[in-house]
């Protein structure tokens, strides 16, 4: 008895000892042998804000800094749209703040998006609230895009690259002082009468940080260029607020954050539905510690999202009930990772993460409607998706020239959902859905995927000016809840599913397998010139995707579109990114002038049918001339996009024409104030963005189908002050 009594104490003591030893690492006692003030001073060592290590910043990554984001924020309220200036980045058009980013031709869920270190679940059958829609360019401090091979610690459950979005880091005051500062910004874009503002404020002592940032934006429909006229269903309104509390002590840095996003409406020009409500609240905690043996980071979060779709005025409004579709998603998870410093400058990064999503998607009956009633259409009933990921990666510096990063990870994904029901259990109008619900309910919904990823990156620093990086990645993504569990086979019910903006209907597939990509890529970066420095980088890539989740045709729909079902196919994607910068001159009198250029070319092919994959960006590039002198910071930008002629015949993807857009912008900064002025699409060129999708809003109003026109000329004004 006494033996049993004493036993539990032993493991507990070990745990306490382990915890104590972990946290006590930096707490050495001070000795009297402290160096005197007369010591020899060494030159300062600069640790850059952008990470240099392979594990954080492969060569094929690009970062939009706070300064670059500031210059752009009066131009768009959509983070994904701003990223399109980076090589290899494109985006599926959507709502005004909800484009779906694509890296090297792989979009949406295939791209890992991490906002302040955490994933955000899509909570909509049309992906109207993607992760980047919870960020506002007005309050971001950094966006990093890894378009090439992604280290396993930044990947998981994705195929392509990674987008890392960070808000401002906590700051503290000097000893005995109080820090209070902030900024106030506003903007106006005349095309669509878009306006918005943001307030950021920090109050901090030596130990505590309290930060608030809030932003709001609102826009009417925009006008297309030339004779394209108004583009329907492009209005939106959105508010984001974040409150962050941080404290530092001898154990490390602790943060608590609360985010609240509210959008009363957002039109979607390329969907049958509009978003009529989205409210999402997240609470998160983060801990960071620096110890002799390495660094530790732990995060945890809980997010609750309430999302509603219906028709805004262009699509008929809700006076007669419209077609309500409600989604409720709760997500929770954690991430723990450690960088263990090894001898010789090597680093071992290990980590573990959990992401759990539970989703209910139901469409309430519409009074008096023969088709949408009398019951609630249950699209997803208590669906859940839980992912447990574990990774280890080792960065080694072999010598001055060679370094490698090798990583493996495992993600296990568990999915399940309950039984479903159509609007009615009898009647001709719902016959397809009645049969589909019966078949779905008779099937087993439980799925478990065990996925493995591996990444190898090798960097060769040929000289101070030239670096070469090779990489191979094996990456796996499990289907999302809608790809597996959307079950409706009626024309209308299937057209409510899909984030492609193509007007087609989509049906889920319980037999879908995870998609697996093998990618090889290389990046060569070379810089030169003393008086006129220049740099150029080239990134070719090739991906073979086994079981790529594409779509097969089930039937023609009466409105000219088609009904498709998600299906695994093999696919390949390949292409080339180019980026270069050249300083033309830098003198006190004439200021600093730089020429920057990027170009991306890529192809995506379904190997089973030989056709193009959907929404592959044609050859495109940007040429920008930047000039800074005194308080002025100006740029002239030329956007060049080739015609899109390789289209996905299965989805009836429209071709689009080539175009060139001219954008101008300047900022004047004076003391604590700044003014931005710019003109986008100066020549008011009519064009359709290649990945903009079909203009369903216009189609419903006029009966005429066209690709979604791009924004016409817009005069943009921004004002700001810091305090």
């Amino acid at each position: 008895m006494s033996l049993h009594h004493s036993e539990p104490a032993t493991p507990r003591r070990h745990l306490i000892a382990l915890a104590a030893s972990l946290f006590a690492a930096p707490a050495f006692a001070q000795t009297a042998a402290a160096p005197a003030a007369t010591a020899t001073e060494l030159p300062a060592v600069a640790v850059e804000s952008a990470a240099q290590a392979l594990r954080d910043a492969p060569l094929a990554s690009a970062t939009l800094t706070a300064a670059e984001l500031e210059r752009q924020r009066s131009r768009s309220s959509d983070v994904a749209e701003l990223l399109q200036g980076l090589p290899g980045v494109s985006a599926y058009g959507g709502g005004g703040v909800a484009s779906l980013p694509a890296l090297h031709g792989l979009a949406d869920d295939r791209v890992k998006v991490v906002v302040d270190g955490l994933p955000i679940d899509n909570a909509c059958p049309n992906h109207m609230n993607p992760p980047l829609s919870y960020s506002d360019p007005q309050t971001l401090s950094r966006v990093q895009v890894i378009a090439g091979i992604t280290p396993v610690s930044l990947g998981g459950d994705s195929l392509g690259g990674t987008i890392v979005v960070d808000s401002a880091e906590p700051r503290f005051a000097a000893a005995g002082a109080t820090l209070f500062d902030g900024s106030l910004n506003s903007f106006y874009r005349n095309n669509g009468d878009a306006f918005g503002g943001a307030l950021a404020a920090t109050l901090a002592s030596e130990r505590y940080h309290l930060g608030y940032s809030g932003s709001g934006t609102r826009a009417r429909h925009y006008d297309g260029g030339g004779d394209d006229g108004v583009v329907r269903s492009t209005e939106y309104e959105k508010y984001d607020q974040t409150l962050k509390l941080a404290t530092q002590n001898t154990l490390g840095l602790f943060e608590l954050a609360g985010n609240l996003q509210h959008s009363p409406y957002e039109g979607f020009p390329n969907q049958y539905m509009d978003m009529t409500f989205n409210r999402s609240a997240q609470g998160s905690a983060r801990y960071r510690g620096v110890f002799d043996w390495g660094d530790v980071e732990a995060r945890g979060y809980y997010r609750d999202t309430e999302h509603k779709m219906n028709f805004l005025d262009d699509k008929g409004g809700t006076a007669s009930g419209g077609m309500p579709m409600d989604t409720r998603v709760r997500g929770a998870g954690y991430l723990v990772k450690a960088d263990v410093l090894l001898d010789g400058g090597d680093t071992l990064r290990i980590g573990n993460e959990l992401q759990r999503q539970s989703l209910n998607d139901y469409w309430p009956p519409v009074a008096g409607s023969m088709m949408m009633g009398p019951d609630t259409y249950i699209n997803v009933n208590g669906g859940h998706r839980t992912r447990l990921g574990t990774f280890a990666e080792w960065e080694a510096r072999w010598n001055e020239r060679w370094s490698t990063l090798a990583g493996v990870r495992n993600d296990t994904v568990w999915m399940n959902t309950g039984d479903v029901q159509p609007y009615a259990t009898t009647g001709m109008m719902n016959a397809a859905d009645i049969a589909a619900a019966a078949a779905f309910n008779a099937a087993d919904h439980k799925k478990t995927d065990t996925n493995f990823d591996a990444t190898l990156l090798v960097r060769y620093q040929a000289s101070a000016a030239t670096a070469l990086e090779f990489g191979y990645a094996h990456k796996t993504r499990s289907p999302n809840l809608y790809e597996r569990y959307a079950w409706g086979r009626g024309s209308m019910s299937s057209r409510m599913i899909g984030w492609y903006g193509d007007g087609n209907g989509y049906v889920g597939n319980l037999d879908l397998d995870p998609e697996v990509a093998d990618t090889v890529s290389a990046t060569l970066r070379h810089s030169g010139g003393l008086a006129q420095p220049w740099t150029v980088s080239v990134t070719p890539y090739y991906s073979l995707v086994h079981d790529y989740i594409d779509a097969d045709k089930l039937a023609d729909l009466s409105n000219g579109f088609v009904q498709l079902q998600f299906a695994n196919h093999d696919a390949e994607l390949y292409g080339l990114d180019l980026a270069g910068a050249l300083q033309l001159w830098d003198t006190p009198a004439a200021g600093r002038t730089q020429l920057k250029a990027t170009a991306s070319w890529g192809r995506g092919r379904n190997q089973d049918d030989g056709g193009s994959l959907y929404h592959q960006m044609p050859l495109n590039g940007r040429l920008a001339l930047l000039h800074a002198l005194g308080g002025w910071d100006s740029q002239i930008e030329l956007v060049l996009v080739d015609a899109k002629t390789r289209v996905d015949a299965t989805r009836q993807e429209p071709e689009t024409g080539g175009y060139a857009l001219l954008n101008l912008g300047t900022r004047y900064r004076w003391q604590r104030y700044h003014v931005d002025f710019g003109v986008d699409n100066v020549l008011d060129r009519a064009y359709a963005a290649p990945l903009g999708g079909q203009s369903i809003g216009d189609f419903k109003a006029t009966g005429e189908l066209r690709p979604v026109p791009g924004r016409g000329r817009s005069l943009n004004l921004g004002l700001g002050l810091s305090f």
């Binding site: 001070q30 060592v45 850059e48 530092q248 002799d292 296990t412």
Partner: protein, 233 residues
């Protein structure tokens, strides 16, 4: 990697796949293995042994800003100190400050320099001043040599510390660290002279110096006590 190839027939027929179970087990195995690795790494690193080069001798004052008032930051840039009184002739010798020498030797000491080769500085490469055999004014030549030796040593220290610096951080601040070496170049004292205002950055700065040690034995001309600032962000 998919642990087992998939049979297309299985997929079409909806037959439960045995390979999946194997994959699942393999996944569970790998997860368990990685968890064990994490725990093992933590346990191994947990007791945080002092640096092997100077067991028990390194002193660190943690977060002085939180514990006690900071010492006032030094304002004057001190000249390299020598162990012996400096000859008078040194005053007439051209001023060779470490920073100036470094500016030539390493064009951008604050820029990314992790790939910069460390200078070939070994103890034997630091001839004592008495070895100088110049003809005209042996005292002046000796002083100049001393300054050069000190500057070269300072550069070697800097290069070694810079190579050990963190990869990058989004946090901003500047920390000033002081440290002392013994005759063999081992770290005997390490102190935060000025906090960056962020405890994580202070610890990164201290850890960088600690991990960079041991250093080459300091020549007499270079002294034993040094200070180095870290600019983060």
């Amino acid at each position: 990697m998919q642990a087992a190839p998939r049979a297309a027939d299985d997929r079409e027929a909806g037959v439960p796949r045995d390979p999946r179970r194997a994959r699942r087990l393999a996944g569970a195995g790998l997860t368990a293995l990685l968890h064990l690795a994490v725990i093992a790494a933590l346990l191994r690193a947990g007791p945080s042994p002092p640096p092997a080069a100077a067991p028990g001798a390194v002193s660190v004052r943690l977060l002085p800003a939180l514990a006690a008032p900071l010492p006032p930051p030094p304002t004057a840039r001190p000249e390299p100190r020598t162990a012996t009184p400096m000859p008078r002739a040194a005053l007439r010798a051209p001023a060779v400050k470490p920073a100036a020498t470094l500016a030539h030797a390493a064009p951008a000491p604050s820029a990314a320099a992790s790939t910069a080769a460390a200078p070939d500085l070994t103890p034997s490469a630091s001839p004592p001043a008495s070895d100088a055999t110049a003809a005209a004014d042996p005292h002046a030549v000796a002083a100049v040599d001393d300054a050069r030796i000190a500057a070269a040593y300072v550069q070697a220290l800097w290069t070694q510390i810079a190579a050990a610096r963190p990869s990058g951080t989004a946090l901003h601040g500047e920390a000033l660290v002081g440290f002392s070496l013994d005759a063999d170049g081992r770290l005997v004292a390490l102190e935060l002279l000025q906090s960056s205002g962020n405890g994580l950055l202070d610890r990164l700065a201290l850890r960088t110096v600690r991990r960079a040690a041991p250093f080459p034995p300091p020549p007499a001309a270079a002294g034993r006590e040094f200070r180095i600032a870290f600019h983060f962000g």
